[in-house]
Symmetry: D4
Subunit: 222 residues, 8 copies
């Protein structure tokens, strides 16, 4: 079974981001083989899209050999030790609605896994504009703002016109009908009127956090 797997354990050295394990689509045998390899090599790794079955499989495979830190809202599991957090909060994660929270939490958990705290600001969609407006000053101090929104994804457009930091839109699959499982939010975010808004795949809180890490990491370079 292991021959089906080919973990890129040196990725962290190369690009500053260690490989993570997307559990969706992996068989139980593959998940067990990954955990076994981590135990053997004394490595730690972030698991994402961990549904309840995968959670059980990974926990059992880790046994007591590796510490497990799991979060069911974000469906993420830390296998092995996480780093100490950075002293400052440099990234905000903002959602339009409460249904967007699980995706936002995936971003927050990924940031924490890389040692970054996050300012969490939820349910501030533009239909009730003042909820957002009164918190703009906080957002203006952030180096990165991750906007998690489904439906019409108007949030990143508004935020992009108000803050100077990197604005990353994460469209979500919330909504129904012509929301088209997030495609409308995705396309709307790509057409955001504010300059320089960038976008990830639908529900990709993990990817947004990685992009934020890249942006912060870049800051250390000349």
């Amino acid at each position: 079974m292991t021959s089906e797997l080919n973990l890129d354990l040196l990725r962290s050295v190369r690009i500053g981001l260690p490989e993570a394990v997307l559990c969706a689509g992996k068989s139980a045998a593959q998940l067990r083989a990954i955990v076994a390899q981590l135990i053997e090599q004394k490595k730690s790794m972030l698991f994402t899209r961990v549904d309840d079955d995968a959670h059980r499989i990974v926990s059992e495979a880790a046994g007591g050999a590796l510490p497990i830190d799991d979060d069911r809202t974000s469906r993420t599991t830390y296998v092995g030790a996480a780093p100490a957090p950075h002293a400052m909060t440099r990234v905000a994660v903002v959602t339009a609605g409460s249904s967007d929270v699980p995706v936002a939490k995936e971003a927050v958990r990924t940031l924490q896994w890389h040692g970054e705290n996050a300012l969490e600001m939820y349910d501030v969609g533009v239909a009730g504009l003042w909820r957002l407006v009164e918190r703009v000053p906080e957002l203006q101090t952030m180096r990165v703002v991750i906007c998690v929104a489904g439906m019409d994804a108007a949030l990143p457009s508004v935020v992009g016109g108000l803050v100077p930091g990197v604005v990353i839109a994460v469209p979500t699959s919330t909504g129904y009908g012509v929301a088209r499982s997030g495609e409308t939010a995705l396309h709307a975010a790509l057409c955001a009127c504010s300059s320089g808004v960038v976008v990830t795949n639908i529900d990709n809180g993990y990817g947004a956090a990685c992009a934020a890490i890249r942006a912060l990491g870049a800051a250390k370079k000349p």
Copy 2:
């Protein structure tokens, strides 16, 4: 040629909205036949989507027999006399950008053809939020607000959360790439987070104005 046409001249009596002529797709012979019929029956009519060729054909066909009032920005022509305007301004037409103005003007001209003035408020897209916010009090007094916006169409979501009147979103075909000739704006507007926003076809300023007339006319009924 006339046998290809079948004008519904009693529509105004039935639903309060006279038929209008969508010039796009009609042959020169058909346009001439319509104008001849109007001259013969001493009627007036609104022509929309009047490109430069259609404008020339209609003008020549009308000759001096009927007054012509044409506007090239909105590509609309009044053939025959328009009604006197209503005393109050009850409808606002708002655009996100300056590229949306031709569609907005189609709405304004259609409103005027039915005797309604319009408050025109252009280029107040949410990327520069304060342009819109400072004019919200004016919008809150309107019975109908027509929001004309392309790209991500965030404008109707924001307006819908701020005003009590009927909010009609008109998506426009401005933009490029994934704006998809207005489909992204259309789908985003249909997913607007604010409750009770309704939507027309892409670039359909005429239809939005008709819906506004319906809403205002309805007010006269019990």
Copy 3:
């Protein structure tokens, strides 16, 4: 958990429409937190898309502290007291088929929550034209007609040519194959030949009712 929620309890003051709770996508914990907040603040609220699980959670959370009025066809729940109904029936809700009834009922229940009665007229699709034609006089007295139809959504086109009131099309996800879960009905309604038909998202009976409230409420303004 409450920090994930940010209810806009003053929306009613601002735009005349109180916020409602779309249950789909919300976690059990979020639903419980909303009900707790309502109990604490002695507020009432409309819940929509209440599947059987959500219904159980909301009912249990309300306990005896707030009255509950639930309807399983429309999947709506009133938590707290509803207003007294308006004296006149000013809105009709019409369906093409019997499969469209749940969406229609969502509109009717939302109207009632805002104090409006509705004339309900079901299964009058255009394939059996006389079912509709014989009831046109009733529809012509309405200030708003909500047309709920799936498949080819021919109903709003026909109705829009027969009545002077506001015509709101609600496409539904009924049908199969190229009905595409309501997208064909949506696009057809947006292309309705009758002037001034406006459209909501697929299955959005709630939104159509809110638009009707806006149209009726607008009538009170100058």
Copy 4:
């Protein structure tokens, strides 16, 4: 050049429908080669989608060797002799709007090429329902009714519920925005609520006429 062509001159014997030439996509050399072959074999043939360039090429190639009967509205050309018309009118061709007439005329001309007259009934779309209703008795006597309609294509649904004959919907590429060059009309027609409506490709007046010929021809068989 002739080796690029492979006319199926015996098709008429096999299925009762002779081959026709779709000019769109064919080079000038190919068109000339086809006409030359017809002259040589003393055959006649229907040409469709004959734009002005193709019209000129075909006319010149035919010279005086074959009679030419061309119609610019339908963009069809008869090269060679057409059959005598059938004594009865058994097919109606109906359009929703005047922009649909060119496609309707392609059907009419194809029917005539096969010896069938057509009852032409144009601009009777359902937005002005009485235009259609008053002519239903005529349609009820027809063995085939071809409904040509763009936009929301509500016409075939209504007609299908009123007449017993074969109902063939031809969606057209008229309209704009979400009409999507006829795809919305196509999908709506395929979802027509009336039982047994069948559909052709967008703008395919030729195909609808061929299907009508099949239906009529079939009537001669046991």
Copy 5:
């Protein structure tokens, strides 16, 4: 509950096709109300898309009051008496694969309900061309050939070039990936190279049979 239903019991008189009941999307209460109405009025009716639950509900509702003839492959139920079959077989129902058989059977059962026998010819897709070719003579005697095919739907193109009768393509939702639940088959059938092939919605065996009845019935008219 009955007020949600509005059966068109005179449709048969008007267009020669009685109304049928599409069970999908109908609630148990609605199905029971329909059967009760049939019992009360001593009518019979065809039920389609009868899944196992609907089958049980309909059977129980009919009790012994009306005869029931159910077929699980086609998911159709005759409630009440069916007519005697026509003396001749005038319609063929052909499938490309064995997965298309349930849809084909829906057509066959609908034909039988209207008194028409059907020649059934299954699993003769063009990938094994000779299976089809050796049976062409049988097909050439038919007045209507219904071609049921998914995937690339090449079957109606080939059949359309070989037989003179009406050719009705029924695309099916068989296949996977880019078969797109039947949309590829649908679009391919609409583009069939053979002249005069007409098409129904995906999996619409019922509609194809109704169109066949129209074509045969038409033959009785002048």
Copy 6:
């Protein structure tokens, strides 16, 4: 039941590829009839898309009469005897990720059923480029390389620029959001920058193996 089936048992003689049975979409009765026919005619056959139910049905139907060789990862079953393997390994099957392995295994099993070994190389996606680069020399000796990849399907582009053999891309339905169940991978593979990459339907490991057999078999011809 057998009359619903029409196995093409001579296909192997005609094109060198025996027919296989795609279980998805087939009823239990149809599967049993196929196995019965194989037993009767003493033939062997490859079954694909064998879910757990189908696996049980086929196994039971074969009883002891025919040997069964089943693989649950690839969901393939050999019913009857497989040929001896070819002496050389001429085909590589490469995957981008570990989630693509089931599709790859379907290709491998199909190859083995036709007597071809396969070099299996898994989880070498371009995000960790060196995993692939270090194994290019092996791939350069292969006559066919089957690239199985979902998401952005960048793998076939890179491989196509590095090896001289036939490169067949098999897009997979792995991924989420805008991966669109494999359509993005499909379209990306069709746009592969490297010359002469060919593509199969999504998840069609069976088809890719058949194409490889054609390429190898062709090599025996002049």
Copy 7:
């Protein structure tokens, strides 16, 4: 200008296929720079998608310094010397209609540029099945059959069931309406019922020829 270009002149050594120049999308300055580089390095190269402007630019740039062999039907230009043809004809290029010929010729010209002759067989679409059937024996001797077809692309399905060689489908953008500029043909070809048909991008005659070269070249390897 040259810094915008980065020709991969060693590709031929690596994968057996030299780089070609896709003219579409390249500026005049870029085309001139490429030709200048070829003259300087005494190389030859195939240019594709050479519209009339590009043809003039390339011809002028080559001056007398390099031989030019241009073909306007296929819009291909050989700049520099082509190889001597292979002794045997191992590839057939087949089209469904005469409108598909330009794409077929692009494949033929690309094959010839690599030293391969092609059997050209045009206008043998399945609507006139016997045109194809009578030529099947010729096709059965070929190692590769390239099927060029638009509309419903039924041709590769039929051919794939009749010949043992590699079958490559090239969908074309011929047709109208739901042909969708070749997407329907593309998707239909990917769903071809015959096993092991592979597919290229729409109108990609060049790519199909390259795939054929790969298949033939593979034959030389062990």
Copy 8:
């Protein structure tokens, strides 16, 4: 005319990015009004999507009152003075092919307008992998890498796995057929296997540069 415009001249103060003028969709009168306003207020501004007509209009309007720096490849115009360049090159702009250069140049020109130099690296697509690989060390020193690629957009996936900086993918509308005017590249880039790649709208070189400025600017904040 000026009332149609509402320039956001303080945007630079708020978010660090001055407003720019997207010329596409703006009328000649609007462009002239913008330039007049700049002259009056002594401001400078970047114009993008400046086609030849717009270029002429803007140049004439500026007269000698403001300096003009225009680039036809990128279709950008600087109206007024540009800032002095930053001392270090911190952003790379990379293209897959030479057809992607105009979009890349739009990014480069936008960067320069904000005082940033760019490392330009063109025509290094993954079909010729070594062109890219040999330049990876340069890319690894960059804080931002903008990857401009059409077709299958494999470039950002490969780059994202090799460099630690921010990776921004700009899909382009190059290519044909299923490239779908850039949608395939867009969707593929959003599915990029490498972690943390972010994406802009199709052909949006301007937006990518703005995002890069945000990332660099962010570095100055705490």
